[in-house]
């Protein structure tokens, strides 16, 4: 992407925009009426009992919130880009925490028990989730390479099988695939455990999506590369391995990284098979004392953290491949 060298005035620094924005924000705060929240209590020296403050109280609360909000924006706008990003991240995260706090949670519950519930989720659940995702990703990648080559070949069988496969596994909900494999294969006489069926379902489903990514990556390499290789007398496999795939990889990595992240979270679906991964443990541990939300939020945080780590790894790899070419 090209960032233009001419910088426009910041909209926030134009009085007209600032005024319009303030009005709009005020309207929003007024509509949603924060008088009966913690903000109303803060202002009770001015507006008296929030419950009885009526129109004036509601307006005053909205007004103060608007000032705080707009002043915050204005202050951030003077910071350097990196700092801006950091502050906005922190503020949004605090808002998320406030949202969670409003559930009236019993945080201590997460750490209770022997071994502690969070310890169990990390030692058992996190490990299982990572194990299932990592194995599935490896298998899915292998499937995708074979599938992509099959889809590009002019062998009728190979193309038909590959396109039937991608159509079927992209066409069914993953949850359904998990049930079908777990309950369907034993009907054929194959006894299959929960974890292998979970891995099979995830691999097959994501292999189908990644087949399409790999196919598109291979196809986007100019025809001239094939022609030059062919003219040198390179056989097909060599061309693919040494010429085409190395050039496709930088194109394949970003969408593949997204698939990895999506798979990590979709691995929660195998909890329906009773596998002790993060989601299953969250449901199980919370159900005992009806503290569902505490454990679900814990699971949410673990998934989020994992995703952030994966995103950072992805950014690293992308940067490495961009330097090369």
């Amino acid at each position: 992407m090209f960032v233009d060298t001419v910088v426009e005035d910041k909209a926030l620094h134009k009085p007209a925009f600032l005024f319009g924005l303030s009005i709009a924000v005020l309207a929003i705060f007024f509509t949603f009426n924060f008088t009966n929240t913690i903000f109303g209590e803060f202002l009770s020296p001015v507006i008296g009992n929030p419950e009885k403050s009526g129109f004036f109280g509601r307006l005053a609360v909205s007004f103060v919130l608007t000032i705080l909000f707009v002043a915050n924006l204005l202050l951030i706008s003077f910071a350097r880009l990196k700092i801006q990003i950091l502050i906005v991240w922190i503020e949004l995260f605090l808002l998320f925490l406030a949202f969670a706090y409003s559930f009236d949670l019993e945080i201590a519950y997460i750490f209770s028990g022997q071994p502690s519930k969070i310890g169990l989720m990390i030692s058992k659940g996190l490990f299982t989730t990572i194990y299932i995702s990592a194995v599935s990703i490896l298998i899915a990648t292998a499937i995708a390479i074979v599938g992509a080559i099959a889809k590009l070949s002019n062998n009728g069988f190979a193309y038909a099988i590959a396109s039937f496969y991608t159509s079927l596994f992209r066409g069914l909900p993953l949850l359904l695939q998990i049930y079908l494999i777990y309950m369907g294969l034993p009907q054929l006489g194959f006894m299959i455990d929960a974890i292998p069926s979970g891995i099979a379902a995830l691999s097959l489903c994501y292999g189908a999506y990644m087949t399409e990514i790999f196919r598109a990556g291979i196809q986007s390499i100019p025809k001239g590369q094939w022609e030059a290789s062919r003219a040198l007398g390179f056989p097909f496999g060599l061309i693919l391995r040494k010429i085409i795939l190395p050039q496709s990889i930088p194109l394949i990595i970003p969408p593949t990284g997204n698939q990895f992240i999506a798979m990590l979270k979709d691995s929660s679906l195998v909890s329906v098979l009773g596998i002790w991964e993060i989601m299953f443990l969250a449901k199980k541990l919370g159900a005992k004392d009806f503290n569902h939300l505490e454990m679900l939020l814990t699971a949410a945080m673990i998934y989020w953290l994992l995703t952030i780590i994966l995103e950072m790894i992805q950014a690293r790899i992308e940067r490495k491949y961009q330097q090369k070419t």
Binding site: P222, Q225, G233, T325
Partner: protein, 256 residues
């Protein structure tokens, strides 16, 4: 098979490439019409003709980047057809230089040149490297060996492409408008390389509109129009005494 061996070991005046009434269609458009042509070892052929006349199609049929539907094409004693098993070994003996260079962008210049000998000729790393450096010297860019293609000018890239083909030690070199994508000031460096190659005795078939080059090196000039060979002759006869009206019109255009 016995036939093939006899042709390969035969003396120099046997054709290294021969086409017998070759026709080719793209869908229902006929791009080549009944082409007859024989090319001897060490001969230098220049093919010219208006755009869309089938020049690229013709030379791409010679290493079977394109398939012909009728007639026979025999290259280095082996007939090209769709059921052949050893097309790759035939192609290894025929170098091709494209209008758009088609270097491998993820490999350095040196690696581009080593790839063929190392990967398919089975020559070890050191010898392939020596050979590549020798040919990069021959095309006068040994100092660019460790750069990537995109860091080179068009003329330099095309000379690397020539060196890459030569590293395979081909018997024939095919050129498809090797200077058409170049800025004018870079045309001559590529043509000079080609002239030197011609002087070294390489069999060359060049599609080009560089008439100066044609006069200098061609043994024979072939003029094509609408998928046919309209006229072929020595450069003197071709330029001074063109027989066909289409040839005359074409020459008027490119020489004016």
């Amino acid at each position: 098979m016995a036939n093939n061996i006899k042709m390969q070991t035969n003396s120099e005046d046997k054709p290294i490439i021969s086409l017998k009434s070759v026709s080719k269609w793209y869908e229902d458009f006929q791009a080549l019409k009944n082409i007859d042509l024989e090319i001897k070892l060490k001969e230098k052929i220049v093919i010219c003709g208006p755009s869309g006349s089938g020049k690229s199609t013709l030379i791409r049929c010679l290493n079977r980047l394109e398939a012909h539907q009728e007639g026979q094409i025999t290259v280095t004693g082996i007939e090209l057809h769709e059921r052949m098993k050893d097309i790759d070994t035939v192609r290894q003996d025929i170098g091709m230089v494209f209008q758009s260079f088609n270097l491998f962008p993820h490999l350095t210049v040196l690696e581009n040149c080593m790839a063929g000998p190392n990967w398919v000729r089975g020559i070890d790393q050191n010898e392939a490297k020596e050979r590549a450096m020798a040919l990069l010297k021959q095309v006068k860019i040994p100092e660019q060996a460790d750069k990537y293609p995109e860091q080179l000018s068009g003329g330099q890239q095309q000379r690397v492409a020539i060196a890459r083909s030569l590293c395979m030690q081909p018997k024939v070199m095919l050129f498809d408008e090797p200077t058409s994508a170049l800025d004018p000031e870079m045309v001559s460096e590529v043509l000079d390389t080609m002239v030197e190659l011609a002087e070294s005795g390489m069999t060359m078939i060049c599609v080009t509109h560089e008439m100066g080059f044609a006069k200098q090196v061609a043994d024979r000039i072939i003029f094509m129009d609408e998928g046919e060979i309209v006229e072929q002759n020595t450069p003197e006869e071709f330029f001074n005494n063109p027989k066909n009206n289409r040839t005359k019109a074409f020459l008027d255009q490119v020489l004016s």
